[in-house]
Symmetry: C2
Subunit: 471 residues, 2 copies
């Protein structure tokens, strides 16, 4: 590990916050960045700057300019230069992949067999079930994967519709849009700990929405939900149910939500439920314990998950499954494609379905179950390690997301790429996180805390000495 920048080096480190927004009549992009002057290059060599406290600090990206041919450089020299740039970039990626704990991405995959696919421009534009005229596609893999998910969530092949999305956000944008198109005057309900794309969708789609407070665990507050539903009784309800929230991994209890709907007089023809299963939606079916299962045997409208999260893939992707009867409200034929337009995007990445198909095939159902088991077990190992080291944590029963105090040393946050919110951070224990890696991480965290404590003590001493001199 590189030598950390000592926090004790100076008495004070005031962050430089946003400059004046508008200069000379023109709006400058850089004037809208909340920068911090403190440089931690030594600790996190590939990150320009550290995060700063609970306030968002913007880390300006660097730019690698497009390299134009230069008269004083031969073609060979230029090619060598480019190859060198790519080579050093790959080294960065390897280092960053090794030190990663914060986001729910499974970075452990081997798609060596599929490498030749990047020779082709694979595009599943339009509907997965209807071939467009563009022949370089991977619909056979896409439909194979969708059928697998349909079985997982218990819906008949003839009754579902779905597609492989570019990310979890697209799944939420789609699910909520399907809800709105079926209930144009519906009010959207979601907890305040929902993924940021949920309320973004409501704003985008100009839907009325209600942000419902949460319980301590991060679950939706069922009483508050009930009150809000009762208040808007005249209008249909479009609900986003979290199957694992972004920060705390909390699972909204679908059965209780259905009960609340019943108690407030909403019949099945007056609500639409979208389940945001980003990470946990595809882990829950593999749990043996009594979980409030997500299944289309219950009156839900759609489920979405991310593909690059639990399954793992080089490119972000996701899956959305909905009922065919609902998607008809969205669907229109596009002659140019010779296909149906019911997706959010037009052109669609055709590599992603092959990656997902390959992993599901390689691991099989049983292999996926083992991965889930391992993650749940290791999440408990991390919790116990933290607790034995005197660090407070929280781990929801149905979750592999271990929540703990936000580290004070921002270089540490950047080094391990932790996602933070308010005064908490989390580690999402994915299949690539081994016990050895957890051990390295916890030891590093304890040392970071020690440095912060020493620095705090030194600051008091520093101030006391200054006060003494003034006397």
């Amino acid at each position: 590990m590189a030598d950390p920048v000592s926090l004790a080096a100076s008495c004070a480190m005031p962050p430089v916050l946003s400059k004046s927004a508008v200069t000379g009549g023109e709006v400058k992009r850089s004037a809208h960045m909340k920068m911090d002057s403190y440089n931690v290059g030594a600790v996190a060599p590939y990150q320009a700057m550290p995060v700063a406290g609970p306030v968002i600090t913007h880390h300006k990206s660097t730019a690698l300019p497009v390299v134009e041919p230069h008269p004083e450089m031969t073609e060979e020299e230029r090619e060598a230069r480019v190859a060198e740039m790519i080579g050093s970039y790959m080294k960065k990626l390897a280092e960053r992949t090794h030190h990663h704990m914060g986001y729910p991405y499974n970075l452990d995959f081997d798609y060596g067999l599929l490498e030749g696919l990047t020779k082709f421009s694979i595009n599943n534009l339009g509907d997965p079930f209807i071939e467009s005229n563009y022949g370089v596609h991977s619909r056979e893999f896409e439909v194979g994967v969708l059928n697998w998910f349909a079985r997982l969530w218990e819906i008949d092949e003839e009754e579902y519709w779905g597609y492989i999305t570019t990310c979890g956000t697209e799944g939420n944008l789609h699910g909520i849009l399907v809800g709105r198109e079926n209930f144009p005057d519906g009010v959207m309900y979601a907890s305040s700990e929902s993924h940021y794309s949920v309320f973004k969708a409501a704003r985008m789609y100009r839907m009325e929405s209600e942000k419902i407070p949460t319980l301590e665990t991060g679950e939706i507050n069922y009483d508050d939900l009930k009150a809000a539903l009762a208040k808007n009784a005249g209008k249909p309800a479009i609900l986003n149910v979290n199957i694992g929230t972004t920060v705390k991994g909390a699972v909204d209890d679908l059965d209780r939500v259905l009960e609340v709907l019943k108690e407030t007089g909403y019949t099945e023809d007056r609500f639409y439920i979208h389940c945001d299963g980003a990470l946990f939606g595809m882990m829950m079916p593999f749990l043996s314990r009594d979980a409030p299962m997500v299944t289309f045997r219950k009156p839900i409208g759609s489920v979405s998950v991310s593909g690059h999260k639990f399954v793992g893939a080089p490119v972000p992707c996701g899956v959305i499954i909905t009922r065919f009867k609902y998607v008809m409200a969205l669907s229109s034929d596009v002659e140019y494609l010779n296909s149906r337009d019911a997706t959010i995007m037009g052109s669609r990445n055709g590599h992603a379905p092959v990656y997902l198909w390959y992993t599901l095939t390689r691991k099989g159902y049983e292999g996926m179950r083992r991965d889930v088991e391992k993650c749940m077990r290791n999440a408990h190992v991390l919790k116990q390690m933290f607790e034995s080291a005197g660090i407070r944590t929280m781990l929801n029963e149905l979750s592999n997301t271990v929540v703990f105090e936000r580290p004070k040393e921002e270089a540490f946050v950047r080094k391990w790429q932790l996602a933070c919110e308010g005064d908490i951070a989390h580690v999402v224990v994915m299949p690539n996180i081994t016990v050895e890696k957890l051990e390295e991480f916890v030891a590093d965290y304890v040392q970071s805390r020690a440095r912060v404590s020493i620095a705090a003590a030194k600051r008091v001493a520093c101030e006391a000495k200054a006060a003494e001199e003034e006397l």
Copy 2:
């Protein structure tokens, strides 16, 4: 070429159109497909079925089921089976890539040097200019590419904002959303030949919209636009200007649109122009002739192009550039990302920026110019070949899209993957389309026409003989 299915084989071929939509109370997906019973496996082996006339026919995708481990199969046998499936899929892709004419995708690229990148889960989640805490990203390449486009369209680095999108549709969804957020009560105007994503955006965003008729060339009808603008004079205008329409490659004259706005009393603070440059938006700057240039020196709000079209890439992608001052209406901070949320999607493909950067660097500005020149020249060669063979065509002055009569033989349409609309089809002459390939295509087209003519004549004879027998 495989032996074509003879159209003369039977007298009549009635297509089987959609069955009853609802069966037994449940809505079945397959009941909503417009199928054709005619099988052309011999001609287009990787396409389930041919397109049928100007009516949309749905070609049902096949599914490759996820292969579960089987007790009677060893692990080695299973691996060999999967490798064989992937191998035969790659052969399909190669054949389909060779026979491709219809979509504006440059299939000629060599990203061999970048192959190792698929080992990493590269994700540029959030804003390109602000690093998120997730370290496995490619923002340095993304910003390098964006700066290149900013120079191309003449906007200062400090005054633009933009990102690399997943496709042309995302660019349009973003541009129109930025327009709406700046002018919440704005009316959207776009020609009837705009890409289907433009009116999809208006519906999604609940915007009032006006579909303006086109001229014969496919350009927007300026008089009709003027009348519509005058009619809605009380409300701001959000205009989609096509820089190359999907089907005819028609370029709306930006200068005339600006003139029309002036004549109808719309000042610059009361309109927003999004330029949909999907394919041609990045070709036009390289043309030497007097083109109505797309540049931020004119009062436009945003420009989008596709990356997998003219540049060419294995994954669909695109670029959107807008003015920073406009994007602020959309932007909100997301602490979880430690970044700003002003994109449509959340997780974003980090491979695409590296592909674009690599091609722009390898070819340089001059190489791109040569590619544009070659496409324009070959489009004229195709037009002349067609005309010398007695086939009517249309080629707009500012376009590499050659429009011609829709082939009657649907197997031919599928074989060459032509995009069709109404009674026309087109070939988009991309950098990978050589004169040799055009020659092969035209010869094949002429033979297809001959087969159709003979079949038609035979049908008449067939009917005449049947009538004779009845006498």
